[in-house]
């Protein structure tokens, strides 16, 4: 029997994660120092699924440069390009002819557990959907069941219908492509329409309820929770140089070529990437993740935050419950404390229990800048010294 293949959908932009997705697709945002998509690829590899058709689109070079042909991750990746992000069914259609008779479909932008894939494969029933319970079903495709049989799928229902949602993980047969084509002609490019069409023509669709972990990242602050969860899985390893007088507590990982300078206190779980220069006298508290080539100068305190690659943080700063995008540079005495925050996104009010700042890529901040909790600062912004930021700053802005 031919090897089972997987189609991974990684073409989307991830608009709701702006400003973090201005220069890269959502799937390439790092959680615990790995792109979200890497968790998907690794989960497939763990299930011995080696052949992946990856549908890419928005800023695809970031994906291709990272994964190349997949060998580093123990898989073979073939890329298909979706130029316009019309919908998941359209993305899937690009894999037609490359999948084999039965295949898996996975979204590239949420962290699927290897156990979930195992369960779907063990069922050995094509036309299966992995479903899970959600506290916020209205953000997803809600699935209604009769026994194991799916009776209806509604994408983002306006009135509450149930709390079982589709995880976007499917086990399908290549007959699905006929339905994809039919729906496309009718102008429907989303997968929900395709499933409805299948059921309407008498095909059976079954649901498998998963108890495995399933984490979607919808809003930027979800990254912090997910990061904390992945970091809690632990692991300790220290490469690089740890100077005398550094205190490491709990699960702390330090990458190759990094220097942790004297007087620094790190309480795990904390992960630090390669080639960083941290300290002296920096305090890092759980659950913090620091990317590669990051500089953190003396007497800065960081709590439960995500710092991406090439970030530079000046001396005497405070960062809590914050996300700092690639290459952003923060001057001395920057303060982004966390508090309960009300964030308006897509005309919807979100109460976030604890949030600092969400900052995009390649932004430069002067010294003595203070930011209110829950503020978003865009990518490629310049903020002068001595500013108090009370409102969101869009991409490419200057605050003088």
């Amino acid at each position: 029997m031919a090897q089972l293949k997987a189609v991974v959908l990684a073409a989307g932009e991830g608009i709701r994660l702006r400003p973090l997705t201005l220069y890269k697709p959502k799937v390439m945002i790092k959680v615990a120092n790995r792109p979200i998509l890497e968790y998907v690829v690794r989960a497939l590899a763990q299930n011995k699924i080696k052949d992946i058709v990856m549908v890419v689109g928005y800023r695809r070079e970031r994906i291709m440069t990272y994964f190349e042909d997949g060998q580093k991750f123990g898989v073979n990746i073939e890329y298909e390009v979706q130029d316009k992000q019309l919908g998941t069914a359209h993305a899937l259609s690009l894999a037609e002819g490359k999948t084999g008779e039965r295949f898996l479909v996975m979204p590239g932008d949420n962290i699927a557990d290897a156990a979930m894939i195992r369960m779907l494969l063990a069922s050995d029933t094509p036309n299966s959907i992995a479903v899970t319970e959600s506290a916020q079903p209205s953000k997803y495709g809600v699935v209604l069941l009769k026994g194991k049989k799916v009776t209806k799928i509604v994408e983002k229902p306006e009135s509450p219908m149930g709390n079982l949602i589709s995880t976007g993980l499917f086990f399908l047969s290549d007959k699905v492509f006929e339905h994809v084509r039919r729906c496309a002609i009718a102008g429907h490019h989303d997968i929900t329409a395709v499933f409805q069409d299948m059921m309407a023509s008498g095909e059976e669709l079954s649901a498998l309820k998963t108890v495995a972990k399933w984490s979607d990242v919808v809003y930027p602050w979800d990254l912090l929770d997910l990061n904390a969860r992945v970091l809690s899985e632990g692991g300790e390893s220290t490469a690089g140089t740890i100077e005398k007088g550094v205190h490491l507590k709990g699960s702390v990982q330090v990458g190759e070529g990094s220097v942790i300078r004297s007087g620094t206190y790190i309480e795990g779980p904390v992960r630090i990437g390669r080639g960083c220069d941290i300290g002296p006298n920096v305090c890092i508290f759980p659950s913090t993740c620091i990317g590669d080539n990051v500089t953190i100068q003396s007497s800065t305190e960081i709590r439960e935050s995500l710092l991406m690659n090439d970030v530079s943080i000046g001396p005497g700063c405070l960062l809590s419950h914050s996300v700092i995008g690639d290459g952003t540079r923060v001057g001395a005495h920057f303060v982004a404390g966390a508090d309960k925050a009300q964030v308006i996104l897509e005309r919807e009010l979100h109460e976030v229990p604890s949030l600092g700042v969400i900052m995009g890529e390649d932004t430069t901040i002067g010294s003595n800048v203070t930011v209110d909790p829950g503020i978003f600062i865009g990518s490629s912004c310049k903020i002068a010294s001595l500013k108090n930021i009370h409102r969101n700053i869009p991409d490419n802005s200057s605050v003088v």
């Binding site: 291709m64 994964f67 190349e68 042909d69 080639g275 080539n293 890529e361």
Partner: protein
């Protein structure tokens, strides 16, 4: 350059040989051939691409074989001149990389003894020579023959009467043996082996080896056994795949944020670099010797090292170095070679040592020939580069030169603490700054369309961006076949101005350093002669826009580091011009990746 592969084991040899040949395609070639032994000797060759060879192949069973891609030096590309070559009895096949200097004399002698030649090549003399010395022992015949040969070579030879071995030898041309389980491999370069094994032995000059299914025995040319250690290669074969990109060159351009970070990781804190104690030695002058793109990196290195160390630095093309004839040279010679196999640079390394200089190599390939010819090595860590036009290896060579300058500058006390802090900051920002250049590809592509129909183009710059202009022009001519010249901007008025017209775009590098005003006036002079100007400068530079027809912007890094974002812009410009002109980007005509002949 020519590529050699060989296989002996339990599998069918042919598919392995063809696959391995394809992994040497980057070396450049114009014909290919393969020989397999299975009771009898079968031989097929073809001018052109490997695909032409594959079209001619019929089934060739057999678990022993050799194959070759040829890059013409003696004799034009043709079926006859392709390797492998057979002896008169068609019992022996041989492949060769290098040049046999005394082949005329050998050939006359062999022809007078009755040997029939079928080609114009120097290589064919080798197989007849070995035939004339063959008394039932292939190894002995090869040893005897090599005593009569002058020149450079890596060769592999098989004989029907001895189907349990491949005999290989090298002098001055690269050759590696790959070790498998119940099978062994031979190749000119590591990428050919990676699919099968990572355990390799780099043969050294005047090594001869007998490779069998189960082992390898290495001797020198006098027949005395020598020990060669087994190295493990970190690259994966798969690293050499294109991973979704249409060309290796584009893939490699996009890999630069990562490659640059790899090149400085663990080398930045304190900016101290260990180079076998040399970093602390008190040299009074430095010379850099290299070819092609590496030569341009050396020229940038001159400006960087002079600024950071205060020492005078000269740069010479490796192919000319030997003619400069100083009995005593500068106390430190830096040799730059991506592959570590460039024959001219290797020769220069030997010459430099003879002249009593300390030698330091900058290379991308661990264990390559040059690394054994010098006192110390700094690796660029760019990962394998397949596109013939060098991209990420150039920028990582620059990083290594900056790091070297900083380390020497600190040891000499010529680099002040604030300069050090500024350089550390600048280097650490580079991966992101380079990403910004890549994200600007839309504008670069438009500029490429703007100039894609040009026949000639001039690249001008001053100071540290004069070599950037040279390298930008080299990229353009290598892959787009536009005649491109790099010039110091101040030289325009001394001649080249006569060539300017509205048909000749001028690409001017004008970053905000102390030469900026002069560059702006040079651009004015060019415009006055109606030549269109494409300016490359720092972001938010409004004046630049006024002085040019079209402008491209890079992040405002410190001037010392500006060649990096500028050259990446010019690499993308050359790539998109070549793509617009429909050129074969990864394998430009008449060029080879690693030039192992002088």
């Amino acid at each position: 350059m020519c590529g050699i592969v060989g296989y002996i084991g339990e599998k069918e040899a042919l598919p392995i040989l063809i696959e391995s040949l394809k992994r040497l395609e980057y070396r450049g070639y114009d014909s290919a051939g393969v020989s397999v032994i299975d009771k009898e000797l079968m031989n097929t060759k073809a001018a052109g691409r490997i695909i032409e060879l594959e079209k001619r192949l019929t089934k060739m069973p057999g678990r022993l074989g050799i194959a070759h891609t040829r890059w013409a030096t003696h004799g034009k590309p043709s079926d006859d001149n392709a390797h492998p070559f057979l002896d008169c009895k068609k019992e022996m096949a041989l492949v060769h990389n290098g040049i046999i200097e005394n082949y005329h004399a050998l050939r006359e002698k062999l022809e007078s003894e009755g040997h029939k030649f079928t080609s114009e090549t120097d290589t064919e003399t080798l197989v007849h020579l070995i035939e004339s010395n063959y008394r039932g022992d292939l190894k002995a015949a090869v040893i005897e023959s090599l005593k009569q040969v002058k020149g450079s070579f890596a060769l592999a030879v098989v004989h029907v009467n001895e189907p349990d071995k491949i005999v290989v030898a090298r002098d001055e041309s690269p050759l590696v043996v790959g070790l498998g389980q119940g099978e062994n491999f031979v190749a000119s370069d590591v990428p050919a082996l990676l699919k099968h094994t990572r355990r390799v032995i780099y043969l050294q000059n005047k090594d001869l080896a007998v490779v069998t299914r189960t082992g390898i025995e290495v001797e020198n040319f006098s027949g005395e056994p020598v020990q060669r250690e087994i190295s493990t290669v970190n690259w994966s074969a798969e690293d050499t795949e294109k991973g979704g990109y249409p060309h290796f060159m584009l893939k490699e351009i996009y890999e630069q944020p990562k490659a640059i970070m790899e090149s400085f990781i663990g080398r930045i804190p304190g900016l101290e670099l260990e180079i076998g104690g040399m970093e602390k030695e008190d040299f009074d002058s430095i010379k850099i010797v290299a070819c092609g793109t590496s030569f341009h990196a050396g020229l940038v290195g001159k400006y960087a090292l002079e600024q950071l160390t205060g020492l005078p630095v000269t740069v010479e093309a490796a192919s000319e170095y030997r003619y400069s004839g100083h009995a005593r040279d500068t106390p430190l010679i830096i040799l730059i070679s991506q592959s570590g196999e460039s024959a001219d640079t290797l020769q220069a390394a030997r010459e430099a040592r003879k002249r009593g200089s300390r030698t330091l190599a900058i290379s991308n390939v661990v264990g390559s020939s040059i690394t054994r010819e010098v006192d110390a090595v700094l690796y660029t860590r760019a990962g394998p580069e397949i596109g013939v036009a060098a991209t990420k290896t150039f920028t990582t060579q620059l990083i290594v030169l900056y790091l070297l300058g900083a380390a020497m500058g600190q040891a000499r006390g010529t680099m002040l603490p604030h300069q050090k802090a500024e350089l550390i900051d600048g280097l650490r920002r580079l991966p992101r700054d380079v990403q910004t250049v890549l994200d600007n590809r839309g504008a670069i592509k438009l500029a490429a369309e703007w100039m894609s129909s040009a026949r000639d183009a001039y690249f001008i710059g001053r100071n540290i961006n004069y070599p950037t202009a040279l390298e930008g022009a080299l990229k353009m001519k290598e892959i787009s076949y536009i005649h491109a010249e790099g010039l110091p901007a101040g030289e325009l008025k001394h001649g080249p101005n006569a060539l300017l017209s509205k048909e000749t775009p001028v690409i001017a590098i004008a970053v905000r350093d102390h030469t900026y005003d002069k560059m702006i006036s040079n651009m004015g002079e060019v415009s006055a002669r109606s030549a269109p100007v494409l300016a490359i400068g720092y972001e938010n530079d409004r004046e630049l826009r006024k002085s040019s027809d079209l402008s491209l912007y890079v992040p405002a890094v410190q001037p010392l580091l500006s060649p990096i974002p500028v050259i990446i812009t010019l690499q993308l410009l050359a790539y998109h011009v070549a793509a617009a002109r429909g050129c074969e980007i990864d394998k430009p005509r008449n060029l080879a990746k690693s030039v192992t002949v002088e």
